[in-house]
Every structure is written in C-alpha cells, then in structure tokens.
Symmetry: C2
Subunit: 331 residues, 2 copies
Amino acid sequence: MKKLINDPQSVVAESVEGFGLAHADVVQVHTDPLFVSRAGGAVSGKVGLVSGGGSGHEPLHAGFVGDGMLDAAVPGAMFTSPTPDQIAPAFAAADGGAGVLAIVKNYTGDVLNFETAAELADADDLTVRTVVVNDDVAVEDSLYTAGRRGVAGTVAVEKIAGAAAARGDDLEAVVAVAEKVVANVRSMGVALTACTVPHAGKPSFDLPEDEIEIGIGIHGEPGRRRIKAAPADEITEMLLTPVADDLGLASGEQVLLFVNGMGGTPQSELYVVYRQARRLLEGRGVQVTRSLVGNYVTSLEMQGASVTVLRLDDELAALWDAPVRTAALHW
Amino acid sequence: MKKLINDPQSVVAESVEGFGLAHADVVQVHTDPLFVSRAGGAVSGKVGLVSGGGSGHEPLHAGFVGDGMLDAAVPGAMFTSPTPDQIAPAFAAADGGAGVLAIVKNYTGDVLNFETAAELADADDLTVRTVVVNDDVAVEDSLYTAGRRGVAGTVAVEKIAGAAAARGDDLEAVVAVAEKVVANVRSMGVALTACTVPHAGKPSFDLPEDEIEIGIGIHGEPGRRRIKAAPADEITEMLLTPVADDLGLASGEQVLLFVNGMGGTPQSELYVVYRQARRLLEGRGVQVTRSLVGNYVTSLEMQGASVTVLRLDDELAALWDAPVRTAALHW
C-alpha cells in the first residue's frame, strides 16, 4: 500500500485539518469531537443542514459546507459512520433557531447514529428532521444497508435542500424539497479497480485484471454482477438504463445528468461516459438541461464512475441553479 | 489495461465532445481541427489567451476556457503536442483585435508547434506573443524538454494573465503579467504509481510496489530520485523545500499554495500534503494567503501530487481573486 499519509490512525484528522486551513474563508474545523461547520456560524432564522458519513468519499460531505448548501458536516473514520457524540454538536452548531435537517445516506450505521444524535438534540429542545437518501438502483439490501444505498444522488439532495433553506423555507418545507429530490434521483456505478482503506492496508475486494463490477457500492460492496471489461459506451448503457427505467423517465422530461468519478478515474474518461449517457437519454426524448461531471462522491482511489439522473421541474432546476459557495461546488 | 473508453484512437475526440455537451454554457468545441473556444466567441478589444498541449492532463487546458481565463485551448492526442494546424485556428478564434497570448508549457514539441502556428498567424496579420511556463524545479532538461518543464504552475499563469486580459490590459501588459507569474512560480511532484496511456496499453514506467519517484514529470518522465515509500510529511518536505529554496522565499512574504493531484490520488491525501506544506512555509515565516487543492494538472490515473508555490504581491493576489467562470475554476 502506497499512500500520501503519515499514519492510518491520523489520516482523517490531518486531512480535515488541512481542509480547514485551505478553506478558512468557508469552513471552520472543530476537533474534539471532529466536525466541520460554516465559517460564519449558524444563520439566524435559517433551517440548518447537516450531513456526514464515513471518510474516504471526499469532497462529500465537508466539501459541501458553506453558503447555499450544508451548515455542518461530520466525517467518520474511513468508511465508518460518525458517532452520535460527533453528530450532536454538529446539529447544535447548525442550529439557527429554525430547526435542523439531517441528510443521511442509507447505511445502517449512519441511520442509527444520526437517529441517536437527533434524540440527544431533542433532549436539548432542538428539532431535527431526517431525510434518508437511497438513490442506488443496483441492489435492494447490501452489505451495510437495508434497502437501497445512498450514493452520488446525495449531492443533489444537499445542493437543492440547501438552496431551499437559504431562500428561507421553514423546516417542513425544506424536508419536503429534500424528499422530492430523493423521490426523483437515481444512480448506479461501476468499479474498474478496488480501493485500499488505510487501516486495512489491502484492497477492499479482489477484481481480476480483466473484470469490472457493475452496480458497485461506494465502499466496494458487491454490485449486480461482474463482467469482462467492455467499451465505455456499453458500460454506460448498463448504468443508465436501470437508472432511467427506475425513474420511469418519459419523453419530453427534463433532467440533471451527473457523472461522478470514484476518485481514481481520469477526467477524460468521465466525459466519455457523460457523452454516451447523454446520447442515451436524448434517444429516449429526455432533455438534459443541467450537468455535473467530476469527483464528488468518491471511494478513495477506486477507478470507476457512477451515473446519476435527477428528474427536474422548474422548482428543482431553480434551486440547483441558486448560488452556492463551498470548497467543492461554487457558482 | 482497464479504462472507461471505447477505443484509444477516439478517446480524445469523444471526451472533448462530452466536455462540450456538459459545458455548452461556457465553451464550444470545434472538431476539424479539434480545439475548444469560449461559448460567446472572442471578446472584441480584449487580448486573446490560448493554451494547449497533450491530452491526459485534464482539466488542463480546456477546463480553463471561459470568462477571466483562456479564450481557446488546443488538446493534442494523449501526451502528444497539438499540431500547428490545430493551434492556428484556435489563435484566430481567440482574436478580438488586440492580439493573442499563447501560454505554452515547456516541452520541445509544444514550443515548436506553437511557434509554427504563431508564424502562420503572423502571415494572416495576427500578432501572437508566447510565454513559456517552466515551473518544475525537479530537473534541468528531461526526456521531452530543454530546460525546466512546465507543470502545475501553468494554472496560475493562465488564471492571472486571464484576469489581466479581462481587465483590459494590452498585449504587452498581459505578456508582462504572465512573465511575472512565470518568474515567481515553482513546482515539484511525486508519483506513487505510473499511468497507462490508452494507445500504449501498458504503464508508462515501472515503479516497484515499495518505491516512489520524487520529481516526476507529468508524463511520467524521470524525476530526481527513487526512494522507498515514506510518510506524507517527509515526502511533502522533499517537494516543498526545493520549491521554496529556488524561489528564495523570505520571511514575511505572501504566497499562493497549490497542492495538485496527479489524477488518481484521494482528495483526503491532497489535504494531508497541503497541511504539511503549509506548516513548512509558516515555519519559514511565509504567509499562505491563497490556496488551491485538487486535480487540475493531471497525468491520467497516476497517483501522486505536486506542490506549487507562487510568490504574491498585491497585483498578483488581486488578479488571482478576480472572477473566473470556466468548467474547472469558478469564483
């Protein structure tokens, strides 16, 4: 294992420290317990947004803390849920007096620990509502999850709910917008290679030199099937078709198309995938009116990509377009 | 070799096509010959900025086309200089009547082909001035270069010269700003793994499982030395020290610190490197007042990073801060 780290035990703390130094205009880092919040503190009267999860998926989630998106993010150990005693102070830091929305990817540990933290917050008279993201159509139930997993679609939930909170929606309304995104976003991914979690020291699974895994999870959990390596256009069709079918996309609809890199994929390859996913959508009569391409929900240095489609209406498109100022998304 | 491509011969064209579709609000793609220009066309009365080079380093250069940065970019084949007949029409597309600045990384093929294209432009009464970027302190002369190589510092040259052109500087003044950046920016990189150029089909060099290459070039050209894998803080010091020494940084000076990923490095590791580079600079009494961390000048899926330091004065800091709206940099 070759990595630019000092020690598997300190990599998360050191990385988050570096992140805080590089983006001090946008975030502040709290070390005991570890979480990240907006540089300016909670916004009075605004619904606070908090997310979090295992580290190793950067820029998710700390990269999305800032104006128009999250108020706080809680990084767990590598591929490990953050603990309730990390999450509860993040809720408090995000509290501007209008309640807090927790955006949680559907992994059993995350759901459980955010729920426990919400109970702790409730005991302090802070109302926390939770929306669980489960956009991965690859498998029902998996290694760490009951029901579908939450993957790259989380970026859309955080961006759009963040914009709703920023425009002044109350907690119920922000929850409703977040649930609307969850209901209309689907994803599926492929791995060409495994990744190595630092404290494990060896690849998280074995993938032969001539095989790829369709439907991979962001921790390398098994997907739908292994196949021989194939041309990008064929792989893209294997990802896009179940996504579009699950959404029941009809001709004339408008969507956001998001091609996400798993961390170790050259950007040139992501655009090859984007090109084909777009052609397939247009072939169904679906209009791609918003796009995102890049490494946003990663699995360390895994090579691979995922395709996410979000069905848009005018409200979701406007909230997607609304200004955002975070380390990883900025417009 | 497992890659998300269809065919090594078509990957650049397909990728640039996808890039153009995803970012149609910012760029337009020309296919015969292949180059990328601003969506709105040349800006009348503004100095045009053009860069280019081999593909495989994305988002460099097409990702930097847009308001406040480049007017056109010319992608060659993978790790191969673009040809003069690609570059000359890009010059013409960038021409707003105030002349064109070509920003060229110091590789023999790039320098030669941009020079030939400038002669073609001159025959059409278009004045092209060229600034060569040579920020890599690792080696004097290398596999493809006489003199120092041009690497990640190119981003700073393109951003800052782009801002100078956007504020209305004339050609001589934009050239002077670009040369000032070149004179004050230095970089050095490390590779943990090699990358595989699609048409080659095998890694561009061999690096044993327990060794890393200090001073690597962005095409995998040999660096200063191979060493056993070491902690990130030690590696970072091996990169930062020659950079800071070559710049002759003195206590009290202000800098931009840019940690660039080579394409396959987890973001968490880049921030570990940033943290240590910043500590080392601060230990010298140098103030880091601007930061950039991410994959901006890559080598396909290579794992590794480079450290770039730009000495700032008020003018360069203001030009760095000026608005930019491109696919890869946006503020």
